[in-house]
Symmetry: C2
Subunit: 210 residues, 2 copies
């Protein structure tokens, strides 16, 4: 019932714990990570976690929250890009590759798995997705590049496609920790995705030369 107070110094502890939790969750998953794992990774005692989070579920929720904030910030940055393709590029690179790619990919896949059965996490995650997709929908609707390039696809369809590709590549990512380095994968994925975007937003009926 009683929320732990959140003032200046507490903020640091909270993010210290969340940082440790991200590492553990990515390595072992939500339900295989024990509170002792987190406290160990953070270099603090178990009990202290309960001063900052009501329980384990609250830690998971807070991580989903953090993920939302990160995505929202990215969207803001993307909105300021001069062209649609540049906006998308910002979103895509940030989306799956910033910070520690392995960790983030594994964490996001786990987040969706958790969302599929935890209504609270589902709400948070859906919220992130809706916000981000609405943002992209807007970018598309306002972009001159997209005006003459419907291909029978609405901005809504396009946004869904773009997100599906991004999430799908992230999903495929978790299976390939060894074949290539993260940087190589990122480069290749960006290249492929860029071509898709160009194709999607190429004025309908325009001649294309490789």
């Amino acid at each position: 019932m009683s929320q732990p107070q959140i003032d200046s110094s507490n903020g640091d502890r909270r993010s210290q714990i969340l940082e440790a939790a991200l590492v553990c969750f990515a390595k072992r998953g939500f339900h295989q990570t024990s509170m002792h794992d987190i406290s160990g990774e953070a270099g603090i005692s178990v009990g202290l976690i309960y001063r900052y989070f009501e329980n384990k579920e609250a830690v998971i929720s807070a991580m989903a929250d953090r993920h939302k904030k990160e995505i929202t910030e990215m969207l803001e940055r993307a909105r300021q890009a001069p062209s649609l393709l540049e906006s998308l590029e910002i979103l895509f690179t940030a989306h799956c590759c910033e910070d520690a790619p392995q960790f983030v990919s594994a964490f996001v896949v786990d987040l969706y798995a958790e969302a599929s059965r935890n209504p609270h996490v589902a709400d948070l995650t859906r919220d992130v997705l809706e916000t981000a997709m609405a943002g992209v929908r807007n970018l598309i609707a306002r972009a001159p590049e997209a005006q003459n390039a419907a291909h029978g696809l609405t901005p809504d369809d396009l946004a869904e496609l773009i997100f599906a590709v991004a999430r799908g590549m992230l999903m495929l990512d978790v299976l390939r920790p060894q074949e290539m380095t993260a940087a190589e994968r990122r480069t290749r994925q960006l290249e492929v995705t860029r071509r898709l975007w160009r194709l999607l937003f190429k004025p309908e009926g325009e001649l294309a030369y490789a």
Copy 2:
């Protein structure tokens, strides 16, 4: 060490257990599903599971195996379709929508989450993916439709894109159990995806009229 024998009658029990496990895993996830849950769902005793599976991990592995067999069969069916687009359609609908869509989506996302930290499951899942992607790559490489429609994308790139979209939509699926029915979602996704395929395999430089 000692594999439980697998003969005629045992096969039925095994699939009975796997069927129950799929339901439980989709509902609660691998690690929140107890062996008692599975035995309850299957209508048998806990101990009996251990006559057919060495341990819980073996049940998870067997499910990944089953998933592989299903995908391989689908690929075989898709190979016999008369055109590339029809092949892809068979793969796509089977891929995420056959049987009980909700269950399968949640299970597959969980499978990938598990793969990200369980090397054995990762190997199995990667194997499925490689097989399926190689199949699609072949379909594309042999298809006359794809010959004149490179857009700077190799068959490899195209296969990766097609898979990313399919997996991505599956991932988005787990967040939307309420907005629409499974059938509505399937229809809409298929429509959007179909347009993407047409766009990808439309001869380069050809005029397109909605």
